[in-house]
Each structure stands twice: as structure tokens, then as C-alpha cells.
């Protein structure tokens, strides 16, 4: 009788030890799985933003800027008369340079759009449209040279020819390039949202499985202490410490990665997207100024598009362009409305100078207006554009830093966490082996 009771008790003791250590091992395995899942999903997010979409946004906004610059250069050569010969030549060189850059941007955009047929079709239609644009622009330039006019608005037939070219650019090509950038923004936003919920799920899973593993390890320790009257099973203590360290470090790394991604998205990607869009729109505003001078039939239209774009960038409640320029104040909304602190002040100052120069240009007429546009207005624009470019650069490096930090955390996680958890598992086995042997 006593023999059977003892035997049963022995069986149940070894069974419990096996059960508890089995559970601890299982929990460790699940913990590892949760880490791997979390790291993989953040890794995907980092790849989407850092290595696919980021470069795509730069390629497409570059495209928009280069194309509107190309059209602005055509307007400029038409506006400058024969007495500006060398400058016209410089404009043509600039034009060829832009064309080269556009080809590169198009190739890049096409390569990065490989898995999105709609984006690909847009790039194809841009290539086709640019060919048509070149033909129309060349025609306008030919008519312009033949007319041999002095500085100022060219003859009507030149304006009509240019209208066809610039219409194509502004009504078909530029919108497609702009939408391409927006679409990339959409892809990133969605990837980011999906990744964020996946990461928070993974984090929960890590906490749950980690606590489970620690619980099992502690229970095993307590049980062994009571049952075998030993205070410590050293291997198990080390295993517990390893599991706890793994849990804390892993969580910290996952958090760091998540933060890096968040940083890359909001301070890097979003800012670069907004600022480069602003830069592209500003370029086209500068073009609207020369078109305003060039085309007396469409003066009103170009003034209106200028105002429309100005309100997109720096929104101030106003009824007309002079009203807008008079009411400009620091508490503006619009694309640049998100800027804060010193950046906001700096950018606002140069933007205001650009708008003031514009207001002055619109009070002048004839050659005086063209001279002012060529001199002070262009300088004011370039000053403003320079500050924008600087800000873009800075956010680009913020972006790259964040992506690097995320990549670094990911690498550390891959290197140490699986090893630590595997060591923990081995130690558990080592810790219970002597106890189980007592029951053989």
C-alpha cells in the first residue's frame, strides 16, 4: 500500500516538473516567435518607407519641379527679346539640362513603381506627353526667333504657340506628376498604419508570452525548492534572469524600432513630402509670374492660378491677390502651416519678401516689369527656394538617421534575442535534469 502511494507520488512529482518545465520552454518558444513577428513587421515598415517610398517621392517631386522649370525657361526665352541673346542661350542650356534630369527621374520613378500598374501607366503617359511638349515648345521658339522682337511680350502668334505647349504641361503633365507623389504618400501612410497595428499586436504578444515564461520558471523554482528542500537551482535562476533580460531588452529594442519608424515617418518622410511639394508648387508660381507678363490674353488666369497656389502653401483668409499679400501673417495655415519655431520664422520672412516683390511687379508694366521680374523678383524667389531646399536637406538627413537607427535596433534584436532565449531553454533542461534523475 505504502509502496504504491509513494510510487504514485513520485510519478506525479516528476510529471509536474516535466509539465512546468515544458510550459516554460513552450512559453520561451512563443516569446521568440512574438519577437520575430514584431521585428519582421517593423522591418517591412522600415523597408517600405526607407528604401522604396522615400526615394520614389524624391524622384516624383523632382520630376514635377524639373518639368515646371522647363516650361518656365521656355516662357523666359520667349519673354527676353533679342537684346538678351547670351541669357537666352543660358536658358536653352538650362532647358537641356532639365530634360536630361527629367529622363533620369522618369526612369527612376518607373523602376520604383514596378508593382503598381496605375503608377506605371502614369509614367508612360508622361514620357509620351513630354515628346509632344517638346514639339510644341520648339515650334513656339522657332516663331519667336523669326519675329526678332525686343524684350517684352512676343507677337500674338508666338503666344498662341506657347499657349498650346504650356497648356499641355500644366493641364496634363504636371498634374500627373503631382498625383504620382500623392499616391506614394498614400502607399506609405497605409503601410505605416498596418505596420503600427502589427507592431502593437506583437508587443502585446511579447509581454504576454514573456510573463508566461517567467511565471512558469518561477513556479518551477518554487516547486523544486519546496519539494526537494533546496534553496536554489542555479541553472534555473540563470535561465530566469536570461528570460527576464531577454524580455526587457527585446521590448526596448522593439520600442526603439517602432520609435525610429515613427520618427522616420513623421519628422522625416512627411516633412520631406510636404516641403518638396511646396518647392514644386513654388517653382510653378514663379513660372506663373513670367506667363502673366508674357500672355496678355490670360493675365487674369495666371494671376488666379498664382493666388490659388499661394493659398495652398501659405493659407491666409483673403479675397484677392493684393488682399492676400496685404494680410500675410505668421499664423498661417496650409502646406507650410505645420512648421514651427525658427524654421517657421525664417521661411515666412523669405516667403513674404517673395510675395512683396510679386506685388511690386504687378504694379509695373512693359519693360520695367520685365526688368524687375528678371532682377529683384527672381532673386527674391531664389532666396525663398534656397531656404526651402535647406529644410528639405535637413529633414532628409533626419529621415536617414531614423531609418539607420531602426535598422540597427533590428540587427541587434536578430543577433542577441534568439541566442539568449535558446541559452535560457538549455539552462532549463540542465536545471531539471538532476531532479528528474532522482526518480529514475
Amino acid at each position: 500500500m505504502t509502496v504504491t502511494v509513494t510510487a504514485r507520488r513520485e510519478r506525479s512529482v516528476s510529471g509536474r516538473v516535466r509539465l512546468l518545465s515544458g510550459l516554460a520552454l513552450l512559453a520561451l518558444a512563443l516569446l521568440l516567435g512574438a519577437f520575430v513577428g514584431g521585428a519582421a513587421s517593423t522591418g517591412t515598415g522600415l523597408r517600405t518607407i526607407g528604401h522604396d517610398a522615400g526615394p520614389q517621392v524624391l524622384a516624383t517631386t523632382g520630376l514635377y519641379r524639373q518639368m515646371s522649370e522647363m516650361d518656365a525657361l521656355v516662357a523666359e526665352t520667349l519673354l527676353l527679346g533679342r537684346e538678351y541673346g547670351p541669357q537666352q542661350q543660358a536658358d536653352l542650356t538650362g532647358y537641356d539640362q532639365r530634360r536630361l534630369e527629367i529622363s533620369e527621374s522618369l526612369l527612376k520613378a518607373y523602376r520604383l513603381a514596378l508593382d503598381n500598374p496605375a503608377e506605371q501607366r502614369t509614367v508612360e503617359s508622361l514620357i509620351e506627353g513630354l515628346g509632344r511638349y517638346e514639339r510644341l515648345a520648339a515650334h513656339a521658339r522657332l516663331l519667336d526667333t523669326q519675329s526678332g522682337h525686343t524684350a517684352g511680350a512676343p507677337p500674338d502668334n508666338v503666344v498662341a504657340a506657347y499657349q498650346r505647349a504650356t497648356d499641355l504641361m500644366h493641364r496634363e503633365l504636371l498634374p500627373q506628376a503631382y498625383n504620382l507623389t500623392l499616391e506614394t504618400g498614400t502607399i506609405v501612410r497605409r503601410a505605416h498604419d498596418a505596420e503600427r497595428s502589427a507592431t502593437s499586436l506583437a508587443r502585446t504578444a511579447v509581454v504576454v508570452t514573456g510573463l508566461l515564461a517567467l511565471g512558469c520558471l518561477l513556479a518551477l523554482q518554487v516547486y523544486l525548492t519546496r519539494r526537494f528542500r533546496r534553496i536554489f537551482a542555479p541553472a534555473l535562476v540563470v535561465a530566469t534572469v536570461l528570460a527576464a533580460t531577454g524580455l526587457v531588452t527585446g521590448l526596448a529594442l522593439l520600442n526603439q524600432q517602432g520609435r525610429a519608424l515613427e520618427e522616420a515617418k513623421s519628422r522625416g518622410f512627411d516633412s520631406v513630402l510636404t516641403l518638396t511639394r511646396t518647392r514644386a508648387i513654388s517653382k510653378s508660381m514663379h513660372g506663373d509670374q513670367s506667363r502673366y507678363l508674357l500672355d496678355r490674353f490670360r493675365k487674369d488666369t495666371y494671376e488666379h492660378t498664382f493666388l490659388d497656389k499661394a493659398r495652398t502653401i501659405v493659407a491666409v483668409e483673403s479675397t484677392s491677390l493684393p488682399d492676400y499679400q496685404g494680410k500675410l501673417h505668421r499664423n498661417f495655415q496650409g502646406l507650410l502651416g505645420g512648421l514651427a519655431g525658427r524654421d517657421r520664422d525664417r521661411l515666412f520672412a523669405v516667403y513674404q519678401r517673395f510675395q512683396q516683390a510679386d506685388a511690386r511687379m504687378r504694379t509695373l508694366s512693359g519693360e520695367a516689369a520685365i526688368k524687375f521680374w528678371d532682377d529683384e523678383l527672381t532673386q527674391a524667389y531664389e532666396g525663398y527656394d534656397q531656404v526651402l531646399e535647406e529644410l528639405v536637406r535637413r529633414h532628409e538627413s533626419d529621415f536617414e538617421r531614423a531609418i539607420d537607427s531602426g535598422d540597427g535596433a533590428l540587427e541587434t534584436l536578430w543577433r542577441w534575442i534568439p541566442a539568449g532565449l535558446a541559452a535560457g531553454a538549455l539552462l532549463i533542461l540542465a536545471g531539471i535534469r538532476p531532479r528528474l534523475r532522482e526518480y529514475r
Binding site: L182, R189, V207, L211, T301, T319
Partner: protein, 266 residues
Amino acid sequence: MRRLLICLLLVLTACGTARPESFVDKDELIVAIRTDVPLISFKGPNGAYQGFNIDVAQDLVTRLGKRIRWLEIKAGDQLTVLTERRADLVFAHMSVTPERKKVIDFAGPYHVDFQDIAVRPADKAAIRDVRDLEGRKICWVRGTNIAQRIVDERRVKAIPVEAPDYDVCLDMIKDGMIDAISTNSQILAGLLTKPGVDLHLVGATFNEQRTSIGVRKGDVDGCEELNRAITRMYQDGTAHMLLDKWFGKSGIDLSVVSVPQFEGCS
């Protein structure tokens, strides 16, 4: 142990991130339209809705894999049907303005055209562009921003005369109470098809009109989906086909069809 469980529960509930409400989650969308704009959205002889906006709405909503329930609205209700949640989308030939953007969001534009002017044939020689409206009476339909765009934005001192809708404008110009009607060239082209209307289109393309779809404020997902559908509608030629179907004979110049540059959804 109990404390541990409570902890776990807290962590688990905290991770359920709330996704903002979007029409994307619905199968049937309530689309608000007007029924008093010829060629654009009107009731045909058999009582069915017809027009450019109707076709565009149908095409886009079908591309999103959803059904439509139409809701008739009057001019001036475009914003309230969204803010009061009576409609999911508004196809009312609305253009984007900063004021409107404060209360609703805009998907698209799905079409870009210009503002034009319609005058009596007798005034054909006197009114040739927007500056010639100085000192003349123009129609201002309540809820639209057209008159403001001439008087404030273009600084042309025309005199706006208020009217509840364009039919009243037509009566007023016939009776000599006003001199001109100015709005989107598409809307004007539609008005000119009405029986008994004898007006001349000036062809003064001065303000760009970006005709957009009203969506509820904050519905970024829905807005982005609509923009993707619009891109496809332009890429596969449907947009050109629909423009030609409704405006091919209207006198509007369709030789260059603008690709709409999107407003952006956030």
C-alpha cells in the same frame, strides 16, 4: 495571479487601435446630387437621373465596388448634408475653397474647367471678358462662390443680384433685370440647352474651377480610394468618353482635357 491577469487584459485592450470611420466600410453609399442642372445632373423624361455628374458618380462608385442611393439636394445644402451625416458623398459640381475645406474634405477634383460668361446676343460685342462686367448686374445663386470670385478676387465691380437657382437667373436675364450669368462653363453649356434660352457664351476662360467630390472631414481612406478611382477613370479613357458624351456638342473646347491635380487627402 489575478493582478497579472488584469495587467494582461489592460495591455490587450489598449492595442485595439480605433480606425477612423470611412465610407469604404459601407456597401451602399448615399450620394447627394442636384437635379436642376441640365447636362450635369437632372431628371430625364422617364424620371431617371442623368448627366455628367451622375455618370461620373456611377463610374467611380462602381470602381469602388459599391452601390448608390441617390439623395436630391438643393443649391446651398452641399456642406450640411455631409456635416449632418445625411450623405456619404456630394457630387454637386463643387469647387474647392479654403472656407469649405474647414468643414468638409475634398476628393478629386474629377474635372477641371474654367469660369465663363453667358450674355444676351445683343451684348455680344460689349461683353468680351470678365473686365467688361464692371458696373453690370450678374446673377449670384445662393450657396455658390461665383459672384465673389468676380467681385472680390478679380476686383471687377459687378453688381451681384441674388437668386435661389439658375432657372431664376435665366428668367432675370430674359427680363433685363441682369446682364450676365457667370459660372462653370459646363453649367452654362447646360443652361443654354434649355428650351427658350437664347444666350451667347463669351468664351472668357478666366478662373480655374476644380470640380470636386465632397467627403466627410477626416475620411482619408475614402478620399484616397476615390482619387485612385479617378486616376483609373482618366487612364482608361472613360473621362474623355463621358465629357464627349455630355459636352461634345455644347461649344465647350474639349481639345485639351485637363488631368485633375488632386487636392490631397490629409
